[in-house]
Amino acid sequence: MSQLDDLKNAIKSHLGELECVIGWEQGYDPLHATPLFIRTEADLDRLIIGPLAVHNLATYLPGFKGKKIGVVVKGCDSKSVIQLLNENLINRENVVVFGLCCDGVVSQRKIRAALPADPGFVESVEVGAQDLKISVAGQSATLKLSDVLADKCLVCATPDAIISDVLIGAAHTPAPAASLACQDEFEAKSDAEKLAFWQETMSRCIRCYACRNACPMCVCRDYCIATSRDPLWISQDNSPAENMMFQMVHVSHLAGRCTECGECERACPVDIPLMLLRRWMNKQVKDVFELQAGTALEQTPPLLTFKVEEERINERGW
């Protein structure tokens, strides 16, 4: 039986006890998936998995307070579930985790760059084991999956859900690449070059807050300081400096909590490479606190604990 059939059967056997199970279905065109809230067996017919099912559905979990629901997660998404549990933002008894052994998901941006015409003109898509056959604006193209995988998949150390009640598919032996080329290239730039880059890039930001709301760990949402009115912490002016200020708030609030799921960057309608900031911050956290968010249960993010003296910071050494 296919992985999809196994998943459907597993969900079917739990549906009765759950408010709903969150998975994916085809979205507004054949190239885009969209979250699916499965309430009945009939809804299950629309369920899809695979490289187009990109959304990290763990984002929805804190919104279901007190209700028992199911969620389908890839390896990376399972880290968000763990992190939410570690921060008591969700209850283990209230979630049934359907974990997948994942072969990676696509980056719509890479697909867009590789296609002969804009994906807005897509006509059909055939998902193969190694490639995507896409017909767009009357032209057909075969894209190798490995060429259009999301950056996070290129360095994925956890393709199989690390927390689950049901694990679907055959387990992988992950062999992650050491680091991401685009990240290394960016970090090799001088401070002045980085500043110039962010000034140009942040002039595109429309402060829509999609990066914030797509993030499974951004749980203040309605009470985010970026939009609080009293006090008014951050100017609503959309100048590059203010936009960057908002990103700095996001990054620092995610220190030790960000699971590098990439949703912030994926959600951004104007393609701001936000992961350059997130990965850099995670490197610092790993360096100083030996911690990677979402990789183990019962870890507390360093900024959510208080210690008189941190083990790895020589506070009184100067």
Binding site: D29, P35, R207, Q236, V270
Partner: protein, 342 residues
């Protein structure tokens, strides 16, 4: 007036116009196309994809200074200066839907009782040179909201790509003025080709959806929170949809206080935000994303048409659909309300 302009000459026109106007055009950077201030040397990208962000900023900038305040001597009365927008703007290369979108603002910002001088000044000083579409995208539905891929309403000049240039047709006197430039040539019989392209593009859009019953049907679901909870389940309540929408016109006003000088700014607001309806008392009549999405859809397809002669407050550009991180499709929500049966 009907003329012809080559692709190179259109770029030259854009560059020439930068001497006297603020030019807003689709500019590519890092894989994205957005409308932004065009300066000579920048790469115009009118054809590869629809700009993610709409040309709304030409008539309604994301942030604008309404007035400035100076307190030179603390005890003295502050000096308040109104900052009405100055100069002319030209938008080049927007789709017909983007140009038409701004018409939705008119009955709101210019009524018998109130006139918004900032909007009106910008609108009256902005020329739209739009480009008719060759083929619709999967998210396009302009034809269902009373428009189409070669709709000239809201534009001053409508271009249609024919061979290596564009057939240009003036729609307003302001458009005619622009077309007096020597960069335009005689169109010869290219007009026929342009007509054929326009017809073909409309055919490609297929049958239009009929929204006639939408206002009443959406209103009928107003108190049905189960309906709205189901419709908004995947919405993450961010607001990306509203910021990219050519027809969303809600704003926020805040003071940027910088010691002895401050600026009162107006910036785009969005009905997906908790603070949008947060009252001073702390009460919020739209406490959940379901309430907020109900407002967004209801406003565009029900309340606005009810107030303004049946006009739908959506130009069908599809930006909110294709740029939504969760893939929420406004067409489906309206359809669900229209097809609702107990």
């Amino acid at each position: 007036m009907e003329r012809f302009i080559t692709k190179e000459n259109l770029i030259r026109l854009a560059e020439e116009l930068t001497a006297t106007c603020r030019v807003l055009a689709p500019v590519a950077s890092c894989g994205t196309v957005t409308f932004r201030r065009f300066l000579p040397g920048m790469v115009l990208d009118m054809h590869s994809r629809m700009a993610a962000v709409s040309p709304k900023a030409a008539t309604f900038p994301q942030t604008e200074t309404l007035l400035t305040v100076k307190r030179e001597i603390p005890e003295k009365k502050p000096e308040i200066t109104e900052t009405l927008p100055e100069g002319k703007n030209v938008v080049i290369g927007c789709r017909p839907c983007g140009a038409r979108g701004k018409l939705i603002f008119n009955p709101v910002y210019e009524t018998d009782k109130t006139k918004d001088p900032y909007y009106i000044t910008r609108r009256d000083n902005t020329v739209f040179i739009s480009l008719a579409c060759d083929r619709p995208e999967t998210t396009c539905f302009c034809h269902s909201v009373g428009s189409g891929p070669a709709d000239a309403e809201g534009s001053d000049v409508l271009l249609t790509l024919v061979g290596e240039g564009y057939v240009a047709r003036s729609v307003t006197p302001a458009g005619e003025e622009v077309m007096k430039s020597s960069l335009f040539a005689d169109a010869g019989d290219k007009g026929k080709e342009a007509d054929a392209k326009n017809v073909r593009a409309r055919e490609l859009m297929g049958e239009a959806h009929d929204y006639a019953s939408a206002p009443a049907q959406l209103l009928a679901r107003f108190d049905d929170m189960d309906f709205w909870q189901a419709q908004s389940a995947k919405c993450i309540s961010c607001g990306a949809c509203t910021y990219m929408c050519p027809t969303c016109y809600c704003f926020n006003i805040t003071d940027d206080d910088l010691g002895l000088e401050s600026r009162r700014i107006r910036s785009w607001d969005n009905c997906m935000s908790h603070t949008f309806t947060l009252e001073g008392s702390g009460h919020n009549p739209r406490p959940t994303k379901a309430h907020r999405l109900k407002n967004r859809v209801g406003h565009k397809f029900s309340y606005y048409p009810d107030l303004h002669k049946g006009v739908i407050a959506c130009c069908g550009c599809g930006r909110c659909i294709k740029q939504c991180p969760a893939g929420v499709d406004i067409r489906q929500i309206v359809k669900a309300a229209q097809e609702y049966s107990e």
